[in-house]
């Protein structure tokens, strides 16, 4: 990854871009250029026709059997699949408003950028894209459609993390409204008990959706670098408690690690893709994982 591209994918840089569509386009284009992949590289495409090879075409698409018969190079051309639904479910509970770096991104910002990129990328793949935001209920819902990218980005742009979160009722409503099977991306920090979170995710998985779980966490949440005794306030409940970080860090780290590991393990066991994202890290990791998963799924198909 070149330094220029890395710069564009750095969250601190992305934070300075106000236009979400521009941001998504920039990120996706830069990401794809770095991959040296065809813009229409799709995995869910049907063969349409042959055309003569021109330099620069992906040699993987040469039809070697036709070359053997005709001694000419032809490449296969596919017709892109346009009826796949990609639905992004974004957690906008108050805990997503956390950001340890004043100049960096909050978890919601990170989720917003990630989702925008995914939707933009998917729309480029001719997918129908939709968006839903939720906390303890389903807040905004943009149904999957080839024409709803702008609306989804608009909804995403004005999303605010203000309320308490509860996965199960929110995802229950989302599962009921997302009718056609497709790809469902859930972006959340998952401050839920693992069992209850899995029950919520199972609501979607049980309806045949391919589930991609992005768990967004701030580096402070992962590292807990506090030292002085102080009071912590829960962003969702407002509850405060005195904390002696030195005495607490070990137990906290252990609990977080166990929670992350258990959720990932349970997701994997139930054929859900789980990706832990650090908001201090560039988005390309998330996008790469996404594409990898899409590719894997296409191959399986």
């Amino acid at each position: 990854m070149s330094p220029a591209r890395a710069q564009f994918l750095d969250p601190k840089v992305l934070a300075r871009i106000d236009n979400l569509e521009l941001l998504a386009r920039t990120v996706v284009a830069g990401f794809l250029n770095g991959l040296h992949r065809a813009p229409h590289l799709g995995l869910s495409m049907d063969f349409a026709e042959h055309r003569a090879y021109v330099p620069g075409d992906d040699t993987r698409h040469l039809d070697w059997r036709l070359f053997a018969r005709t001694d000419r190079h032809y490449v296969k051309q596919y017709e892109a699949e346009t009826n796949a639904n990609v639905m992004a479910l974004i957690d906008v509970s108050a805990s997503m408003s956390y950001g340890s770096d004043p100049e960096g991104l909050t978890k919601l910002d990170y989720a917003r950028f990630l989702t925008a990129c995914l939707l933009h990328f998917s729309r480029g793949q001719r997918d129908r894209v939709g968006l839903a935001t939720f906390d303890d209920d389903l807040r905004d819902y943009v149904p999957p459609s080839a024409r709803n990218l702008d609306l989804a980005l608009h909804v995403l742009d004005r999303a605010r993390a203000e309320r308490r979160g509860d996965l199960y009722p929110a995802l229950l409503k989302a599962a009921e409204r997302v009718g056609r099977r497709g790809i469902v991306v859930v972006v959340s920090d998952f401050y839920e008990e693992v069992d209850r979170a899995m029950e919520a995710l199972r609501l979607l998985r049980g309806r045949g959706h391919d589930l991609l779980v992005f768990r967004v966490m701030d580096p402070v949440e992962l590292e807990f670098p506090f030292a002085d005794p102080t009071h912590f306030e829960d962003l969702e409940t407002g509850e405060q408690m005195p904390v002696l970080p030195k005495k607490l860090k070990a137990g906290y780290d252990r609990l977080v690690s166990e929670h992350v590991a258990e959720l990932e393990e349970r997701c994997t066991s139930e054929r859900m893709d789980h990706v832990l994202l650090d908001t201090s890290k560039p988005l390309d990791l998330a996008l790469f994982r996404y594409l990898t998963i899409r590719e894997r799924k296409a191959r399986v198909r």
Binding site: S100, Y191, D228, F232, Y252, L255
Partner: protein, 720 residues
């Protein structure tokens, strides 16, 4: 040791003790709050739950809690309500009155020192709200210290108080105590009587009404009823031997409380020299008269004394009553001039003989027939009798009038020839009419006597003289006009005046409607005649018997000429009136200035013995002497039963109980008094401030150590 609180409501402040704990456990350090996405994991860490409730600085917390508790307790004003500790708080603020007997009987043995000790003991245990009065009493009472909260003033007064020569009278002292107690608003009232409780000072009619709830305590000092020998009254019988006046003293020696007969020696002293000595055998209880031989009374203000030689008397003998003093002067007889009508022989025989009777100062009677003597001659007499003789006319009448106006007395016995012209009716009472015979039955009688008048006052009461037996066969008719200027002193049974008086100037005129012999009446043959004539002459003269001695405690107004004349000290009054001052020396040698002038000057005869009065700076002049004796009532040392005294006082409204009156108010004041006396709140405040100071030092120390060990800052809180 029960603890009470005057303002227990402040104990609510003890709740403040938990404030530091609550603050410690719940205080939200908003300045250091870190906003965190979720406390889900933090709450699951076992350690944090423990540390949240953990108190790290127990010592600091204890200091703060203790300081708050002490402050709350101090404001609640604690006090120890244990009676043993509260001591003599009693019913609370108490008005205490100490009556200390300082009569001369307190000089017996150790009575006085015991009394002082008892009085000092009564001043112990005073609270700040208590008040105490010290009343010194003998026959009078005076508040040496009145209603003060400073008991030391009472103790200082006790250091200077001395015994007097006066007798005991409980009435004035109890009345004064009653006044003090009644004026007091304090709920507690206490009366402490320190005395030898002589029965003679208690009349039973003190009429003391002590306030309700007054606690009465009687302290009897000294041995009850010790043996005592005293010189009683000394009678001085005067007689003349060849124009020389002689005085025969007869003393009455009394003895009480002894056993067996007692031989004592009694001494007569005249002008400081022992003149005679008698040995007397006294019975166990009784009185023996001791007659001395007559001594010549040649000098004015001759000082005499009858004393008991103290040898052989017990140690508990009362010494003050072992002597009686007297002063006697020659020539104190009242001058009486009888102006008899010429040619009637010895018409005034009965009158003259009656006036000659008597052992006191008596009368010096002169009989003159003929005209009225000159003014100078008249001035030598105090009374002029006109017996059966008309009032003189012309210059003689004027001289008599001037004599009366100057203070002389004129007695007119009307008889058949008595009377006065109409121009004299301005100073002679009424108008005399003709002679009226009263031959019906057994003659007339006196039907009315003015017993309130000095002439007849002596005859008030049963067996004090019977005028009803006197017969009046003839008398002058007499018209006395009604008015204040004439006072009818006696009337016959038919209502006509028998004796009337009219004052004129400084003197007086008395008119007798009958005669003073045995011709018109048999009054001269009745036993009452002599005293009647004496009273008539004495009243007309305006003089009373000169006193041989005064009683300690009496006060002389030395500017009152008449009173001083009665006291045989007329010359002193005259000297003071003529701008000549005098100096009085008390028996103890104290000098008392008697300045000249008409303004009242009082000489208090406080000590027994002889007071000498002389011109200042003149030791060559024989001083005027005034004899002063103690009151003999004090010589009776029989004490009262203290319970009897207390019962009598309590029956007047006091009680021996405590807390009468307003019990609630008394209890409240008692609590306040205890609290104020103990003032525990001050100590609690001091302790609280000490603790707070220690807390400040300790907290700063902890804070500084915390700053030194503080680590890196916490991450920033959440954004939007």
């Amino acid at each position: 040791m029960p603890l009470g609180f005057l303002v227990p409501l402040f104990l609510v402040g003890l709740v403040g003790v938990v404030v530091p704990i609550i603050v410690h456990l719940t205080r939200k350090q908003r300045a250091d709050v870190v906003r965190f996405p979720s406390l889900m994991f933090l709450e699951k860490v076992p350690f944090q739950a423990e540390s949240r409730r953990r108190i790290h600085h127990w010592f600091l917390l204890s200091l703060r809690a203790a300081a708050l508790a002490l402050l709350a307790a101090a404001f609640a004003r604690p006090f120890v309500s244990d009676d043993a500790i509260a001591g003599a708080v009693g019913v609370g603020p108490t008005e205490r009155v100490i009556l200390l007997d300082r009569s001369y009987s307190m000089a017996i043995g150790e009575r006085w020192s015991e009394a002082l000790d008892a009085a000092r003991a009564a001043t112990q245990g005073f609270g700040p709200l208590d008040r105490v009065s010290l009343v010194l009493f003998d026959q009078s009472a005076a508040a040496a210290v009145r209603s003060t909260s400073d008991a030391s003033r009472v103790r200082s007064a006790l250091d200077t108080v001395a015994i007097t020569d006066r007798a005991t009278r409980y009435g004035p002292a109890l009345k004064l105590a009653e006044t003090i107690l009644q004026e007091s608003e304090l709920p507690g009232k206490s009366l402490t009587l320190v005395s030898d409780l002589q029965r003679g000072g208690w009349t039973g009619e003190e009429g003391v009404q002590l306030p309700e709830g007054t606690e009465v305590q009687t302290t009897l000092v000294g041995v009850a009823a010790p043996a005592n020998v005293a010189v009683g009254e000394v009678a001085l019988t005067r007689d003349r031997l060849r124009s020389v006046e002689r005085v025969t003293p007869v003393a009455r020696i009394t003895r009480t409380g002894g056993e067996g007969e007692l031989d004592i020696q009694v001494v007569l002293e005249v002008d400081g020299r022992e003149l005679q000595r008698r040995t007397v055998t006294l019975p166990a209880a009784g009185a023996v008269p001791v007659a001395f031989q007559a001594f010549t009374l040649s000098n004015r203000h001759t000082r005499g004394a009858v004393r008991i030689a103290t040898a052989g008397l017990s140690e508990t003998e009362l010494l003050q009553d072992n002597a009686r003093h007297f002063v006697s002067s020659p020539g104190r007889a009242t001058g009486v001039l009888l102006l008899d009508p010429p040619g009637r022989g010895d018409a005034s025989l009965y009158l003259r003989q009656a006036l000659a009777v008597g052992t006191g100062d008596g009368f010096r009677v002169e009989r003159v027939t003929g005209g009225v003597p000159g003014a100078e001659t008249l001035a030598a007499y105090s009374v002029v009798f006109l017996d059966d003789r008309p009032f003189p006319v012309g210059a003689e009448g004027d001289r008599l009038r001037a004599f009366v106006e100057a203070g002389g007395g004129l007695v007119i016995a009307a008889g058949s020839r008595g009377g006065w012209s109409a121009d004299r009716s301005d100073f002679l009472p009424g108008t005399l009419g003709g002679v009226e015979d009263r031959e019906e039955g057994r003659g007339g009688r006196l039907g009315y006597l003015d017993y309130d008048h000095p002439v007849f006052e002596l005859f008030r009461g049963p067996r004090r003289g019977d005028f009803s037996s006197a017969r009046f066969f003839r008398a002058r008719s007499w018209q006395v006009p009604p008015g204040d200027s004439v006072r009818v002193l006696a009337r016959f049974d038919d209502g006509t005046p028998a004796l009337a008086e009219r004052r004129l100037g400084e003197g007086r005129v008395l008119v007798w409607a009958s005669t003073l012999d045995a011709f018109w009446t048999d009054l001269a043959l009745q036993p009452v005649f002599v005293p009647f004539v004496h009273q008539l002459a004495r009243h007309a003269s305006g003089r009373t018997d000169v006193l041989d001695a005064f009683t300690a405690g009496q006060i002389l107004d030395v500017t009152d000429a008449r009173a001083m004349e009665t006291a045989g000290l007329g010359e002193i009054a005259e000297a003071l009136a003529s701008e000549e001052g005098r100096i009085a020396l008390s028996p103890s040698g104290a000098s008392i200035d008697l300045p000249a002038g008409d303004e009242p000057h009082f000489l208090e005869l406080a000590e027994q013995g002889f007071y000498e009065i002389r011109p200042p700076g003149r030791s060559d002049v024989r001083p005027v002497a005034v004899a002063v004796n103690v009151d003999l009532a004090e010589a009776d040392l029989v004490p009262l039963d203290p319970e009897e005294v207390e019962a009598s006082l309590l029956s007047g409204g006091g009680t021996s109980g405590v807390g009468a009156g307003d019990p609630a108010r008394a209890r409240e004041l008692q609590r306040e008094d205890r609290e104020r006396r103990q003032s525990l709140w001050r100590w609690l405040l001091v302790a609280a401030f000490v603790l707070l100071a220690a807390e400040t030092v300790w907290a700063n120390r902890i804070s500084r150590s915390g700053v030194r060990t503080k680590g890196t800052g916490a991450p920033q809180g959440a954004q939007g």
